[in-house]
């Protein structure tokens, strides 16, 4: 039986992946519960072969303890918020790049040589080519978040190149579904609960973005991990072939709540500096491995909103 360590294993995507892996693999969930939640892993941790190592991915001793005896590390722990980069310089670099450096070193120290990593479609900046393939023209970065994720990709690739590691990197679009606790849908939902008559929207509402349902995302990660077993480095885009306008998201949330708000736009093509107004990834490469998304974006939105209804405690807590 495999043993897999999962950093960020109590998070939105991490806990969903953990539930799918448990039973097929022994699991070590690493999380500091800064974004991840105990409620997401409580049941999981009662299953045999699942263990929690609570702490930070910057803590080398903790990583070494967690990775010892593992075959694979899935490194999902990160600062996942693209929006506040310039307000917190170094934060993204430390949380996403330095942490990945330590994950890789802890792997080297414990003899674990296979890593899967959650990167982002944001590394394409504002591409000129849509859908954007992995080998598109060398992009210009537009956010500290994407810069730090790209640095983490480069660290992993360098360990593959120099030390014979196996690295599988996934460049996600934004992920939706059960346990989604952070992003525009929850922002709109919270705001409309507070005031059903008006809604402030960042940008002009015309940003067109692809989204992916969390279980499709997990399928993609599992497909990539299962396929890449030899030493080497591979990058896979993970997204759907559709996009949704921010205005359409607003309409879906409003309809779900049965409200008709006046929408006020902050204006501009972008929601914030580093926001990419058009995200659509070419997923030919991972589709060639047999993966395809099963849940359309509108259905993914709908399931996310249903989960909000069922988890008012998450909605009522302050945004973080």
């Amino acid at each position: 039986m495999q043993r897999v360590a999962l950093t960020g294993g109590a998070g939105f995507i991490g806990s969903a992946l953990a539930e799918r892996l448990a039973g097929d693999a022994e699991l070590v969930v690493v999380d500091n519960f800064s974004t991840g939640r105990r409620a997401f892993v409580e049941q999981l941790l009662e299953r045999p072969g699942v263990r929690l190592v609570e702490g930070d991915v910057l803590d080398m001793e903790l990583l070494v303890e967690a990775f010892d005896g593992c075959d694979t590390v899935v490194h999902l722990a990160a600062n996942a918020d693209v929006r506040y980069g310039l307000e917190r310089p170094e934060h993204d670099l430390v949380q996403n790049a330095i942490s990945t450096s330590r994950v890789l070193e802890a792997m080297r120290m414990t003899g674990v040589r296979r890593i899967a990593f959650a990167s982002t479609g944001s590394v394409y900046g504002e591409p000129e080519l849509f859908p954007t393939p992995e080998a598109c023209p060398f992009p210009v970065q537009t956010s500290l978040y994407a810069t730090s994720k790209l640095a983490a990709e480069g660290l992993i690739a360098s360990y593959c190149h120099g030390l014979g590691f196996t690295g599988v990197v996934f460049r996600f679009v934004s992920v939706l579904g059960e346990r989604y606790t952070h992003g525009h849908l929850i922002d709109f939902y919270r705001a409309l609960r507070r005031d059903p008559n008006r809604l402030q929207v960042l940008g002009n509402g015309r940003q067109a973005k692809s989204y992916l349902y969390v279980q499709d995302c997990v399928d993609g990660i599992l497909t990539g991990i299962a396929t890449r077993r030899d030493p080497g480095f591979a990058v896979y885009n993970l997204g759907t072939d559709e996009t949704l306008l921010v205005d359409e998201s607003v309409a879906l949330v409003a309809a779900h709540l049965g409200v008709e708000p006046a929408v006020e736009y902050a204006g501009g093509r972008r929601g914030w500096p580093g926001d990419s107004p058009h995200i659509l990834l070419d997923c030919t490469r991972i589709r060639a491995l047999g993966w395809q998304p099963r849940v359309p974006i509108r259905e993914a939105v709908s399931r996310t909103l249903a989960w909000f209804d069922e988890n008012p405690d998450v909605i009522d807590e302050p945004a973080r």
Copy 2:
């Protein structure tokens, strides 16, 4: 008159650039003399309008003091050795990416909004396209050094995108000429002075690389800086249209010293993990601004070797 701060201003390229700028601009040379040398700037510092701020680019207070009142920062200070990345994880990230983050923050704090940055052709990894243009297919990184330089590029691009900075990034090939103190030429020269009968060469000697004479490099930097004045981000390759085999470098050094060593190859296409066996950059973009290299590679090698002859103290000191 402009005021320019030059990090790494006592280094190989930095001191040459400083000498060219002095007179046209007030200069603040920032250096911690870890790689840079006092001898390279002693005369320069006697000129009016040139000031030294001694210390590390990780020291924010020092940076703020140095940048205050400047128009432009030229950020050259870095760990410039691609070779030992995997032996010193985090070193490249801290020295090249975190330091650049602090340089940018110190610029923001002092209102300096224009930065030129020394990146590297190594960010192309092992490209499939030669000569390699700036917008070649999104490369896979092969070294922690290049990963950290690419991260620094991304930080600069993000400040340009989000805060209206002006950023000019130069991706150099290896630079040769007076004050070259680090690299294969000095390694060969030292080794053959020690033992003229045999020489150990990393790799198979067939690595074909482009090199650039230091004054041509400085011309390129000055051209880029002078041309890009509006907010925005630009990347320029800087190299020659020729390559030189490692074997040819060996032959030039041996002929210069009048020795005929038996060459022993460590073997393999690469000198070390992350060494790119073929480097040739497409410099159309900077040539369109009127720049062109004036000194052919063999002449650049010859001038470097002549400088070694005139500076036996540099040759006699231990490699560092």
